[in-house]
């Protein structure tokens, strides 16, 4: 970690520290609404980071990451509701089970040579299949949903993720920061270089002795495991889970917007993307509400247009350009 820090240009170090300090101190001045927006930003920065490991570094397009969010959320919620096992412990089986799903999707895809568009479709099919299965799974409430009970006496149990906005703000901030650290670490690791070799040219990577299957599997396992942690957070933050919502393809798409807008295959891209998209989307809702308009599709139309604009005009995302503008482009990933 320390070498990574030293590699950053001094200016980037200063900016990063100031930014982190501002976020840690934000609850002193920000109101509940602002904190909820920031929490959402951190959540998307974290799961975007997870998706970016697979797509941005290893070049495997997953359009079904809602699967891992949903599995993580459902496993932790079921353990909490039925067995009283708290999220700090429950996150471990959540990770293991989501990674097992990732192993099935990745194993089927990579072992049988399902590539490109076909692989993306495989990930969608797996997520949709699971969504419909959960719709009919009586044990988890089926399509009627699964709810984490609201218990007054437990509200102070921060160690069980029972609490108010402030608690979730700091948990989400920690997740986002941890995500950045993990991604930075992985990007500089042997595995990270193997991923990029596979992304650029699979045949060439294989010729250089990279175990392509193993590298891709590592990407899908790490990515699904990390996404599952996001799912656990989701379950305890929102307290209600519906298969039609959490496994929906719209969720998968929402999750990949940040890294694409911010910059695929960069450590700060998912963070920058989340910081751009979430406030714009929420602001749009707030503004239209002010005019007394209730337009349910407006935010999504706007996201769709941004997606098209970014991919048409700036396919590398905003971060590489922004990094140059603020003079931190250096050797930092």
């Amino acid at each position: 970690m320390i070498e990574l820090w030293r590699e950053l240009p001094p200016r980037a170090r200063g900016l990063l520290l100031a930014f982190a300090a501002a976020l840690v101190a934000a609850p002193l001045v920000a109101d509940r609404y602002l904190l909820s927006i920031l929490t959402l930003i951190f959540y998307f920065a974290f799961v975007g980071q997870a998706w970016n490991l697979m797509m941005g570094y290893a070049g495997q397009l997953s359009l079904g990451h809602a699967l891992y969010v949903g599995i993580g959320a459902y496993v932790a919620a079921v353990l909490w509701i039925h067995f009283g096992i708290g999220p700090w412990l429950g996150v471990i089986p959540a990770i293991v089970i989501a990674a097992a799903f990732g192993a099935v999707v990745g194993g089927l895809g990579f072992r049988f040579g399902v590539e490109g568009v076909y692989f993306a479709l495989l990930t969608i099919a797996a997520a949709e299949f699971t969504r419909i299965a959960f719709d009919h799974l009586a044990f988890t409430g089926g399509s009627g949903g699964l709810f984490l009970p609201y218990e007054e006496r437990r509200l102070g149990e921060w160690w069980n993720l029972r609490g108010g906005q402030l608690l979730f703000y700091y948990v989400a901030l920690a997740l986002a920061a941890g995500g950045v650290a993990l991604a930075a670490r992985l990007a500089r690791s042997r595995l990270g270089f193997q991923w990029r070799a596979v992304r650029e040219d699979e045949a060439a990577a294989r010729a250089l002795g990279v175990d392509v299957f193993r590298a891709k599997m590592a990407a899908v396992l790490l990515s699904s495991a990390m996404t599952a942690v996001g799912g656990v957070f989701y379950a305890f933050y929102y307290n209600s889970l519906f298969p039609a919502q959490i496994f929906d393809i719209g969720r998968s798409i929402e999750l990949i917007l940040g890294p694409i807008v911010g910059g695929l295959g960069t450590v700060f891209g998912p963070v920058v993307g989340a910081f751009i998209l979430t406030p714009l989307g929420e602001g749009l809702i707030a503004i239209t509400a002010q005019f007394g308009l209730d337009a349910p599709g407006l935010k999504a139309v706007f996201y769709g247009l941004i997606l098209m604009a970014i991919i048409s005009f700036r396919p590398n995302g905003v971060w590489p350009w922004l990094a140059r503008m603020i003079g931190v482009a250096g050797r930092a990933p």
């Binding site: 076909y118 419909i132 769709g304 048409s312």
Partner: protein
């Protein structure tokens, strides 16, 4: 008499499947030639459904008639889209194309949501509940009409690709792009025509779909996935494959909906998709990569 119920379900599945097949045909033609995966395909189908619905509810025009002007309008739309928005993406990485069209699909489906709201709109045709009695079979009139129309359009398309100069030129682009450019074919224009044809298929299919299903924005992503399942089962890029895949999926969904539960029918389609992707990635009738 159990077998006659199953026979009814199967026949109904085949008829619906042919309309699905026409929709998927558009997807397959676009991919086969332009090599762009139209991830907004189902969304376009739903736009066509709304167009047919509006023409019926306001002017009383039968979707079986308005199908033709809608298809023509969609051809123009497709031509313009390919010429402007999509053409710069030809040859770019697959995921770039994917993201562009996912964005387009999101805009379309939520635009519809803003304009029409989330409720399903039904075009109540005067003959919606008429049916033919053939021995033990009871077949909905609308399904027969729309299946016949779908087959007629598909046949016209086959004839176009087989017998016209433009059709042959488009096939040349699909078979050997460099060769086609060398002999002086205007590839960009042919791509635009192909995308137009693909959208004309989906426009016609959408208009037909209104006779057997209610229009709702949420159908967009569902139809896109359905289209993908069909063309992948049939073989992406194969025209006959799209129709055969359509029938196969139509029948399997009808049977699953009847035997198990209607809400679980698409689960089988997804399972089938996974199986085909893994075991026969080029589809049942696909050409080699």
């Amino acid at each position: 008499m159990m077998w006659s119920i199953y026979l009814n379900v199967v026949v109904q599945g085949v008829l619906t499947g042919l309309v699905y097949g026409l929709m998927a045909l558009g997807l397959s033609v676009i991919f086969g030639v332009v090599r762009v995966v139209n991830f907004a395909h189902g969304e376009f189908a739903v736009v066509a459904m709304y167009a047919a619905f509006l023409l019926f509810s306001s002017l009383g025009l039968d979707p079986l008639v308005t199908m033709l002007p809608i298809a023509a309008a969609f051809f123009v739309l497709g031509f313009a889209l390919q010429a402007t928005l999509i053409n710069p993406f030809v040859g770019r990485p697959e995921h770039d194309q994917f993201i562009l069209l996912v964005g387009l699909g999101i805009v379309i489906v939520n635009g519809l949501l803003m304009i029409f709201g989330p409720d399903a709109r039904a075009a109540n045709l005067p003959y919606a509940f008429d049916s033919y009695l053939i021995g033990p079979l009871i077949i909905d009139k609308v399904r027969v009409y729309s299946a016949v129309a779908a087959v007629a359009i598909a046949a016209a398309l086959f004839a176009f690709f087989r017998h016209t100069g433009t059709g042959t030129a488009i096939r040349a682009c699909a078979d050997n792009l460099t060769g086609a450019a060398v002999i002086g074919l205007n590839v960009k224009r042919l791509y635009a025509i192909t995308f137009g044809i693909g959208l004309a298929c989906v426009g016609a299919a959408g208009a037909l779909m209104v006779t057997i299903a209610d229009a709702a924005p949420s159908l967009g992503p569902a139809y896109t996935l359905l289209g993908f399942i069909i063309v992948i089962v049939g073989g992406l890029g194969s025209m006959t494959g799209a129709l055969v895949g359509g029938i196969l999926i139509g029948v399997s969904e009808a049977l699953a909906g009847f035997v198990i539960a209607p809400s679980m029918k698409s689960m089988f389609s997804f399972a089938l998709l996974i199986a085909v992707l893994v075991l026969r990635p080029r589809g049942l009738m696909g050409r080699g990569a």
